[in-house]
Symmetry: C2
Subunit: 326 residues, 2 copies
């Protein structure tokens, strides 16, 4: 057990809403098509003037408010987004500024695509356990709308923008990460990608407009993830010394309605244990897992003494699971 | 002390060399101008077909070779670059593939701009100390040439491409991180930046060709860093219980020749203790510190029983220092 305590959670949504009915009209689909194809009723979308770091800061302030803590009490900020705000510097610098953290508060990014929050939580627990930090803010914020390709019927309809944050401290007895596993399978590195944004595709080396847009081979992701997940999850639970029945609440990456339903059924997880905010948020990239965790906390499903399983797949292809004793 | 052991180091340089004489000719400067302005005699530049992850994998294989270890023995890869290869997925996925790591080996990114390696080393030590991993590869690779603006007299001449890697295991008695401090001052967030590459500047929201290029206000960086560094370094050394005379070798970020010389003089660090590879490598962004550390290791200046100080400034603006007992 790696001791870590979830002090509080928070979330933020951007100012604009986009219903599936609106998308049907905008994209010229028959009424009901977008909801049927995506499973999303409502997604939230940032206005042009809203930034990823502003949304992150709003989520962080919600988490601070929920614990009655001042921003000045944070002694490390970890940004755990799927996509950066700029190529340079790290997104954490922008969030630190927007959140009004004390100048000098250290800030860096952890990135494991849609599982950045899970990786960041494991990193934060390691840092808290080895000294130097007492209260860490971990924030995920993604604006998928900035890279959605509206001509892609599959990948364009499922996403929503959003941010969520947690405040972490060293855990007491029985509190912490009971098991953690992350596995990366680069054979799936091109199944989900945005090719531009770094050293590979850019004006100097050559870039096309489509390189700035999100590309997904959903079938390939589903096939590889379905093949890997059962034994992955068995291995993860073996680390806990318990089986899946010991889990009180499952917080999955809100990848897609079919993906979540299929995974729960195949893995033998009762639907009532699964936090499902997909229909009203869509897939929020790295912000999905902490947003769902926040909903579980404020609804009382994840409370001290319970055990949560965070799990999901990410671009890379990476699969991950984390068992958290709250 | 956070126990961590530097098992081995490695580096890689891209295929092309670019001397300051060649740059004088290419940019129409008088003979000697580029060297005088930059302090760099020779920089290494990736050919168009070379990728950041290929270079990273070459550095990782050099580190593996130097410890006679197979790639299959790595149980976690942390990519610690300054700029990503793509906006999505994480650069670590590409490095894992290029390096031929075992499928399933977990891989994620840590980003603190030019100090990503230092942050990654602290993160890795925390992970090793809290279980689950026994041998971590930490790799930094940057291709600054993909974003250099040749019309910028100050920022264009100092950079070079490169990569470096270290293999890390849990440390024995007296081995590890004796002190670590990272401080982020967002007032300097725009002093060094590449505005495109993420959600802030892109074809959807608006982007200009210059947004893909590196921008630096060198004077502002120098002024802020000079103001902060003395008390920062005193605080860092106070954590060790020793003073600067206990440091055997200083491994600075190779930011610029004037910056390094000024910092050493102002901080009272004897020049002979400072690893300076700048003239033959330039500023290699996040790859500078691990490349300099590698040179210190292979030259015998950093060996078991010695104490190294890693230090530098990064876009953000972030300043950092790490005292490593080898």
């Amino acid at each position: 057990m790696i001791p870590v305590r979830l002090v509080s959670t928070g979330k933020a949504l951007p100012s604009e809403q986009l219903s599936s009915e609106q998308l049907d009209q905008r994209l010229g689909h028959a009424a009901g098509h977008t909801f049927k194809a995506s499973g999303v009723r409502l997604r939230h979308v940032a206005a042009a003037a809203e930034t990823q770091s502003q949304l992150a800061a709003a989520a962080l302030h919600d988490a601070l408010k929920n614990a009655s803590l001042p921003a000045s009490s944070i002694d490390l900020l970890i940004s755990a987004c799927g996509v950066q705000e700029q190529a340079l510097p790290s997104t954490a610098c922008f969030i630190a500024e927007q959140a009004g953290l004390k100048p000098g508060t250290p800030a860096f990014d952890v990135n494991a695509s849609c599982l950045s929050f899970m990786a960041g939580l494991r990193v934060a627990a390691g840092l808290l356990a080895t000294g130097g930090y007492t209260r860490i803010a971990l924030v995920s914020s993604d604006l998928a709308s900035r890279g959605v390709d509206w001509s892609e019927p599959e990948a364009s309809l499922i996403f929503g923008d959003g941010a969520a944050a947690v405040i972490l401290e060293k855990g007491g007895a029985g509190q912490g990460i009971r098991a953690f596993k992350l596995e990366t399978y680069p054979e799936g590195r091109s199944y989900c990608e945005i090719r531009a944004g770094g050293t590979r595709r850019n004006p100097r080396i050559g870039v096309e407009p489509g390189d700035f847009l999100f590309r997904m081979d959903g079938k390939a992701v589903f096939k590889l993830a379905s093949k890997l997940m059962p034994s992955f999850l068995s291995g993860l639970m073996a680390e806990t010394g318990d089986d899946l029945s010991s889990i009180d609440v499952v917080v999955p990456h809100q990848a897609s309605h079919l993906g979540m339903a299929h995974a729960a059924k195949r893995l033998g997880i009762p639907a009532e244990k699964v936090v499902d905010i997909y229909a009203t948020h869509g897939n929020q990239v790295a912000a999905s897992i902490p947003t769902a965790l926040h909903e579980a906390v404020i609804s009382g499903r994840a409370k001290p003494g319970t055990r949560a399983l965070l799990m999901g797949t990410a671009a890379g292809l990476t699969i991950g699971g984390l068992v958290l004793d709250l």
